[in-house]
């Protein structure tokens, strides 16, 4: 176990507009991962898409962090839906 082997998960979430994707990125980026040495998260906006790249040291952490991330995305998407002006 000298070298860390990273597991990576990439998630692409389409939004209605680039603006919405940007809002989601900014809102989600504030909370740090609880185990930054074992879970890395990079968020990027590509067009109307929010792209998340998760790198983790174990499969379990990949599952947990992807889950938690998607729950948060779901909350943001709902908020945009419920209060959006469109």
């Amino acid at each position: 176990m000298s070298e860390h082997v990273w597991h990576t998960v990439a998630i692409t979430i389409p939004f209605l507009s680039e603006e919405d994707a940007q809002i989601a990125k900014l809102a989600l980026d504030v909370d740090r991962e609880l185990q930054p040495h074992a879970v890395k998260r990079v968020l990027e906006v590509q067009g109307n898409n929010l792209v998340a790249k998760l790198s983790t040291l174990t499969i379990r952490l990949a599952r947990l962090s992807a889950n938690a991330f998607l729950e948060n995305v779901d909350l943001v998407v709902h908020t945009l839906d419920e209060f959006g002006t469109r």
Partner: protein, 364 residues
Amino acid sequence: MPGTLKRSPLKRPERPYIALGLEGSANKLGAGIIQHDPDGSTTVLSNIRHTYITPPGEGFLPQDTARHHRQWIHSVIKDSLKQAGVGIQDLDCICFTKGPGMGAPLQSVALVARTLALMFNKPLVGVNHCVGHIEMGRQITGAQNPVVLYVSGGNTQVIAYSQQRYRIFGETLDIAVGNCLDRFARVINLSNDPSPGYNIEQEAKKGKKLLPLPYTTKGMDVSLSGILSATEAYTYDKRFSQSAEPSPENDTITPADLCFSMQETVFAMLVEITERAMAHIGSKEVLIVGGVGCNERLQDMMGIMARERGGNVFATDERFCIDNGIMIAQAGLLSYRMGSVTPLSETSCTQRFRTDEVHVAWRA
């Protein structure tokens, strides 16, 4: 005596200010809208709450509580806007609880606050939950500079204001009073609806016997874990009966007797440390805030003490003493009017956020 004169640093607003407050640090989810007017008055435009209630014998866990908040937050916010008759675009700022509290529920609410702030380009104000309780209590009761007893599921503190801080004079050395009562309610299987503490209070009214329990005050601090285990131990006593009628005649111990004994002992300790703080700083006013502050027996006892000292007790009803969104709006708007906003990058939550860390810029 005239005492010291100080000028309030808070200027009267030149126009009405409106703030939304979001709270979800424990099992209550709340949204409230407050308005501060140029004439110095404050109006509660709405105060909506939705409580996550668990089955008897069960406490609330962080993940389940967060799930509840995520499920309900949009309708709670919508109701608060509707009742207030305002839109998000009308708000001056969006206030949310930064801590202390349970991590996952706090985070969920903060995430919604951030999303709304970004959508409508509104400033965010992160609020200390305890300071929220104090400011709302001061606003509702008109208490000027009281000693504050803050009693809830997670906190037991005796607080007094001095030099722009709410300083903690005394606190629990182990568990919070609400936690003590709630956990005992679970031991005797009382319902969590509307709250375990409320049901303990009702049960205690039927109690007839005062059973000896450890009475532990240390200066202005208290220790409560010993009382919880001692009360629990009585339920294994041969004299204990879950179903018997409480009576002063026999030696049977009933759940009502235990609720009564626990309340009498714990509240006497709380009143005692509050009185000690009052004597220490020379204040005649007491303000009780936090969920346990609704308890009428506690309010009665505190009132008797305060009157013996020639003073007064101030308390609020369940709309304001139980966790709510309006208190977050109130404390947040005071801070906002002093020019304070929380930059987006600093809007993460913190489970531990002590009352005395907050700079109370709006008071002299």
